[in-house]
Symmetry: C2
Subunit: 195 residues, 2 copies
């Protein structure tokens, strides 16, 4: 029985400039993927083997700092791709975990099939490169804002741009993403870092 892949089809159409027939061929290799809340899309120590389009839900990427606490490195929200480039594409052991904060559903494809499509469909290869570069650029932009903006400004922007994260992530998850402690973030929230 076939799932409704319309959202995935629209996403690929928008980002790969190719015919409807080829888009159909591409999406036919994606499989429905559900991850329950708290389930893992990727565990550190494993080699990532999946490329996921997230149709619904929120995920969080994190790594363990030397001190032992979790540091959130990314959030993933609906209608975007979820993958860990270095582990997936260089086939190395991942340092990151990617965990579902809510029940998630989407469509995934294995590394092997993804590569097969990259080889056989040049437009999809371009799509893959564009998505990789887009992730890279987004990551750079965020890093830059972590240097130039205060935690307060970053919080405000995250809230404006990705409000759905705040429905599912804990305060400490967001705090470590912004590089502050959870008590500091709690104060920032209340609007008075000042006494």
């Amino acid at each position: 029985m076939e799932q409704d892949k319309q959202v995935l089809i629209d996403f690929i159409k928008k980002n790969a400039h190719t015919s409807d027939r080829i888009v159909q061929e591409i999406v036919s290799h994606f499989e429905c993927k559900n991850i329950p809340r708290n389930g893992f899309f990727l565990k550190s120590g494993k080699v990532s083997n999946e490329y996921l389009f997230l149709e619904e839900g929120v995920l969080r990427a994190f790594t363990l700092a030397v001190s032992g606490e979790e540091v959130t490195t990314n959030f993933f929200t609906k209608n975007r791709l979820v993958f860990e480039p270095s582990s997936l594409f260089i086939r190395t052991v991942s340092k990151e975990n990617i965990q579902a904060l809510t029940d998630c559903k989407g469509f995934s494809i294995t590394y092997e099939k993804l590569n097969m499509l990259f080889h056989s469909i040049p437009e999809f290869r371009e799509f893959g490169r564009a998505m990789l570069v887009k992730e890279f650029a987004a990551f750079k932009a965020r890093t830059l804002s972590s240097i130039t903006e205060t935690a307060e400004e970053q919080y405000a922007r995250l809230l404006a741009e990705n409000p759905e994260i705040f429905q599912s992530a804990q305060l400490k998850h967001i705090a470590s993403y912004l590089g502050v402690t959870d008590s500091s973030l709690s104060r920032i929230r209340r609007g008075f870092s000042k006494k």
Copy 2:
């Protein structure tokens, strides 16, 4: 007259698994590129059009924060590639500047030729993807350390891993790279943040 491209040849051989003949074909499209100290490899507002292998010298990438001051986002040292992925590959206007801190020499290829080689030589395409992913992974690793490590530890690691940067970069360049002010970095250097 031909320049000595041996270092470039070795770099590509090490990172692209292909025949000597194809490596020769690839490097034949690279041209000698010299950038004098303080010259720009890329200026913000322009679309990047070059992919550079740096044989000798040090470059610095930076952007202007809203407050107006320069924030160093990267350093490039010899025997690695220099490029700005989002501007080069998505053909967007760059927010970053890449400027030579010392006289630099290397070999560059235009976007157009690079793309042509990516299309005609699958192994070089793989090389390109691997380099992109490698840059991405390195960038992520650095960002992570900026959250989990103190400025002091980051400074120590930068000094251990890229001592050549300290020969050519100013204190304020390194300070903004580490996300601290130059006076703080000066204190860190002396080893007494403590009174």
